[in-house]
């Protein structure tokens, strides 16, 4: 019997493909945002409203992952020329190779921002680098104020956290102190924004964040 010491990142292959995606996106001056949240937290409605507001401001692309159906792509297609739906079948998250294949079908010269709507899941997508510039974690008021502490990985990894559906606050108790204390503990740098895609509350700040992200990305362009 012989022991072979290795010490290597298990997701090395995924990370290598993610690095290729990142290089291609940066060379094209595209800011890529990986959007991660549980099923039903409002990712797609947020993106629909975001695409409407960015029309004429930034050229957007969307890659959206779901186990099944084209429904999300169909919802976003009226507001965005480049929308690609990926069906992962049994896969609970997007991997770098999914994005790599989707990018090959997109015109990167005609894009400023790429939104990658991950499969609805707060756990599995977090560990898989896709080549994004930023990860945005989505939580909803209706999902509950205790969810940040229960999902430490996304809180640690997120550049920005959006708490959606704030229009429901009159009907659903949500303890902002509990939520932000958990976030503070896990990731003191993370920024939290409150938004409602339905009422429009907080959408200006979110849109401004996206525009800023694109500007810093363009400044980094090689």
């Amino acid at each position: 019997m012989q022991q072979v010491q290795v010490i290597e990142n298990v997701l090395k292959m995924n990370d290598e493909i993610a690095a290729m995606n990142r290089r291609a996106l940066r060379e094209a001056g595209i800011a890529a945002v990986n959007i991660i949240g549980a099923p039903g937290c409002g990712k797609t409605l947020l993106l629909e409203e975001t695409l409407k507001r960015l029309a004429g401001v930034l050229r957007c692309g969307v890659i959206v992952g779901d186990l099944a159906t084209q429904r999300d792509a169909d919802r976003m297609a009226p507001y965005c020329r480049q929308v690609i739906q990926i069906n992962t079948g049994k896969g609970c998250h997007l991997e770098a190779n999914h994005v790599h294949q989707a990018l090959a079908r997109m015109d990167l010269r005609d894009m400023d921002v790429l939104f990658i709507e991950n499969v609805g899941n707060l756990i599995c997508p977090v560990g898989f680098d896709l080549g994004q510039d930023a990860k945005v974690g989505i939580f909803s008021v209706s999902g509950g104020d205790d969810k940040a502490g229960k999902h430490p990985f996304i809180i640690r990894e997120a550049d920005l956290l959006l708490v959606t559906k704030t229009d429901l606050l009159p009907y659903i108790p949500f303890d902002w102190n509990l939520f932000s204390e958990d976030v503070q503990r896990l990731n003191p740098q993370a920024q939290i924004m409150r938004v409602s895609a339905k009422s429009g509350e907080g959408m200006d700040a979110w849109i401004e964040w996206v525009v800023q992200r694109r500007q810093t990305g363009a400044a980094r362009r090689p």
Partner: protein, 112 residues
Amino acid sequence: MHEFSIATALLELVKQHAPAGTTVRKVVMEAGPLQSVDPQAMEWAWQAVSEGTMYAGAELEVRVLPWRLRCRDCGREHVADDMLSPCPCGCQVCHPTGGDELRLVSLTVDEP
């Protein structure tokens, strides 16, 4: 069930690192607490992906690492199984450091 994807990636790494002609008996990996890897699910996933390959039957040992927590007030680090564990100094707020590890550590092989 990200364990299945991790097991698939692990199998590729084992293929790369197993010396030619040897039989792999045991694979050791470690996972930081942020990765939410369930050892039992990981072992089942490993059995499923390695079945029918020359690595079938190799035992997988999953070592889940403890939290490493740095105290907000005194700056000292301690390790704990619970993310909410207070610092020995009494402070209730400790920030995790690391925790996202996901590594193949070693292989035990039979020499030809």
